[in-house]
């Protein structure tokens, strides 16, 4: 995953949707697309849904994210249609696994990336509070939310270090690639997480009072409309499963 895909959001950008709407969209797209059993009008709906993240990326001018999503999703779809029938054995198995993963998970991942990309931590916390999510859940979730861009920053730095040492697929010890990347990543994430919590606690995070929030979030007409569409989708989906 390129770092652009999980980059952070600036504070001042004009927001189309409320964070709650975006959360619901993530849930809808990931469940409906992931569980699509194939065939029938439900599949057509699914197919339409896969364009939603693409459209949103384009509206937000996230060209690179849009391109990555478009290539991975359509690449995998075309592979399923044209390449799979031509292969057999292990190659076939690997291709099936890869394309299945991409087609089923990519729309959900892309939608989640859109959520992280266009929502500030503060807005996210605000949304959680409005939904009356208890602090014991909302604080850890916001920390996770805060962590995406940091992890991607660290990941890029470690990638640089690996490139300099010539550790890459096709180099020596390819089997150790994942270990080499994950060990330093975990070490630095644990350290940053620790320092981050300490800094947040000294500024009163976790006080047993209702937090205030200065960012402007609120349900607008487009939110109501989108939420209704999402709810309808999920109902249709349940109806179809029964």
């Amino acid at each position: 995953m390129r770092s652009d895909f999980f980059a952070s959001s600036k504070g001042s950008a004009q927001k189309i949707f409320d964070p709650r709407t975006k959360l619901l969209m993530v849930v809808t797209i990931s469940t409906v697309v992931m569980a699509d059993s194939g065939g029938g009008w439900m599949s057509v709906l699914c197919w339409i849904l896969t364009f939603v993240p693409l459209a949103l990326f384009l509206i937000e001018r996230k060209w690179k994210a849009a391109l990555i999503y478009f290539c991975v999703y359509w690449g995998a779809t075309l592979m399923q249609l044209y390449l799979l029938p031509l292969t057999t054995g292990v190659v076939n198995f690997l291709l099936v696994a890869m394309s299945f993963f991409s087609v089923r998970f990519m729309p959900g991942i892309a939608m989640a990336s859109y959520l992280v990309n266009t929502t500030t931590v503060s807005e996210f916390m605000g949304a959680m509070e409005r939904m009356r999510v208890p602090q014991s859940l909302s604080i850890p979730l916001s920390v996770v939310f805060r962590f995406f861009p940091t992890v991607s920053e660290e990941y890029t730095a470690i990638g640089d270090a690996m490139r300099m040492r010539g550790i890459r697929f096709g180099g020596r010890k390819p089997a150790k690639m994942i270990e080499y990347r994950l060990v330093p990543l975990l070490v630095s994430c644990v350290k940053i997480g620790d320092e981050l919590s300490a800094a947040a606690l000294t500024r009163g995070l976790g006080a047993p009072i209702r937090r205030t929030n200065v960012c402007e979030i609120g349900i607008k007409p487009q939110d109501v409309f989108t939420m209704a569409v999402c709810a309808a989708m999920i109902l249709l989906f349940i109806f179809e499963k029964i």
Partner: protein, 494 residues
């Protein structure tokens, strides 16, 4: 305002941080106290006992009593203490909970449930007081370290606490930003706040610190009046492993032998842009090879980008570096140059020091690996896990892996940030030893003491362009000290 009585603390749970013993300290309201001492002397622990992270976040055994204002720290909750004590930490990367500056400034007040209108008023007042209004509504990830530290100060200032605690706040800062931090401290002092600063760098506290405490091995060993402390002779600082108390006291460097620029390194067409904005533009530059080149300039001037481009890590880089008769494009530089990162943890991958070195060899050769480890004083740690080593040792492991892969140019990104005198000199020795091996080193740094300890040449980058390129002979040393002093006095005036 702050009163510690017979306080001792030892960390539990496998932390290596140093504890403290028998601390008795009373700080009056409005007093500014500087705590100094070598790494591991317990000064960070002292700050944590005042802001309540000890005993509420860091676990361990605490005896004695700590009072902050009227609050008993051990019996108060952290969110309660947050109203009284504001903290600024060392690492600008890990003290922001939000990813945009405005939310970050409002964050503390939001946590304490202060009304939205009131918060916005306070934020506006704070950015005016600290002259940081231009930093509003920015993404944290776009800011330089200096700007991040200003936001960190702002975000505690918004809460208006009576006490400020700063733990090594200048580690990653250039001189101009340090001077800006000094102005913030003066402002807080002038408004009657009580301030506790733990630091290695001392010079910026001159004229602000009312009292200076020297710690060693977890104990308070000496207490000085501020003015008296800064007038102590150089020998005093040297003996205690402390950094210079004033930039006027930069030690004279042994004049570097004039390097023969007969076979210079030539850098051409080094142009890097980020989102369409040019951040580095070096049409042509010649530097003598075989020396230690200091790369100086303000936070955010493009020094790190220069380091990454030199090592071939910038994508779409069309620059060419001519070195020892070879013209190297970015891709070739990946195997000729090596970057020792500021956070060296990013580049240690394996389970033992030996494996780390073997991994970098094109053909694994244990004998040669052992020779390299011996030359870098690492033989004793051959089988140890790299993550278990100290900072200076980790740095040497990274150097070892660069040497065995026959790198001819090593680039260090701020290798001495946050180091005390002893460890700074260790790093200077590590890098000086490379020169004897015929390796050319580039060192991105804000540390004049370090430059004078080992560098032979200086290049200065401002706003993405080269604005200085001189050998560190006697006139070069004058140039350099003028740069650091000018930087400081300029910022002082604005």
């Amino acid at each position: 305002m702050i009163k510690l009585t017979n306080v001792s603390f030892t960390y539990t749970g496998g932390r290596e941080d140093a504890g403290v013993r028998n601390i008795n300290l009373t700080i009056r309201p409005g007093e500014v106290v500087l705590v100094c001492g070598e790494s591991g002397c317990g000064k960070t622990t002292l700050t944590r006992m005042v802001n309540g992270l000890i005993p509420h976040f860091y676990e361990g055994e605490l005896t004695g009593t700590i009072y902050v204002g009227a609050k008993d720290v051990a019996k108060s909750e952290l969110y309660d203490l947050a109203r009284t004590v504001g903290s600024v930490f060392q690492n600008p990367r890990s003290q922001f909970f939000n990813v945009d500056t405005t939310s970050e400034l409002a964050f503390g007040c939001e946590n304490l449930g202060i009304a939205e209108d009131e918060i916005l008023t306070r934020v506006r007042k704070t950015v005016a007081d600290l002259s940081i209004s231009h930093l509003l509504d920015r993404s944290i990830f776009e800011l330089s370290d200096g700007e991040k530290q200003k936001i960190a100060c702002g975000s505690v200032s918004v809460l208006g606490p009576d006490i400020y605690v700063l733990d090594e706040p200048t580690s990653n800062l250039d001189f101009e930003t340090i001077a800006a931090l000094r102005r913030v401290l003066s402002f807080w002092k002038a408004t009657g706040k009580t301030i506790l600063v733990a630091e290695h760098r001392l010079h910026f506290m001159k004229g602000i610190a009312d009292r200076v405490i020297f710690m060693r091995e977890g104990e308070i060993r000496e207490t000085h009046e501020g003015a008296e402390f800064f007038a102590l002779p150089p020998r005093y600082f040297e003996e205690r492993g402390l950094r210079i108390p004033s930039l006027d006291r930069l030690p004279a460097a042994e004049t570097a032998e004039a390097d023969l620029p007969s076979d210079p390194i030539r850098i051409e067409k080094m142009r890097v842009s980020l989102r369409g904005e040019p951040i580095l533009n070096i049409p042509a530059l010649e530097i003598p090879s075989g020396g230690i080149i200091a790369v100086i300039g303000a936070n955010g001037a493009g020094k790190t980008t220069f380091a990454r481009s030199l090592c071939g890590l910038v994508s779409g880089d069309r620059s060419v570096v001519t070195f020892r008769g070879r013209a190297l494009n970015a891709k070739k530089r990946l195997s000729v140059c090596y970057l020792v990162m500021q956070d060296v943890n990013h580049q240690l991958f394996t389970e033992s020091v030996l494996d780390e070195v073997l991994l970098s060899m094109s053909v694994e050769d244990e004998t040669r690996a052992d020779e390299t480890l011996l030359s870098l004083d690492l033989s004793a740690f051959r089988e140890d896990h790299p993550m278990a080593l100290s900072g200076g040792q980790k740095q040497r492991v990274a150097i070892a892996s660069a040497l065995v892969s026959e790198r001819e140019i090593l680039v260090f990104d701020e290798p001495t940030s946050g180091l005390d005198l002893v460890h700074m000199r260790e790093t200077a020795r590590n890098i000086a030893a490379l020169k004897r091996n015929g390796v050319t080193s580039f060192v991105v740094t804000h540390d004049p003491e370090f430059i004078l300890a080992c560098c032979t040449h200086v290049i200065r980058i401002e706003a993405g362009e080269i604005s200085g390129n001189y050998p560190l002979d006697s006139s070069g040393v004058k140039n350099l000290t003028a740069f650091f002093r000018h930087d400081e006095s300029m910022a002082e005036r604005t």
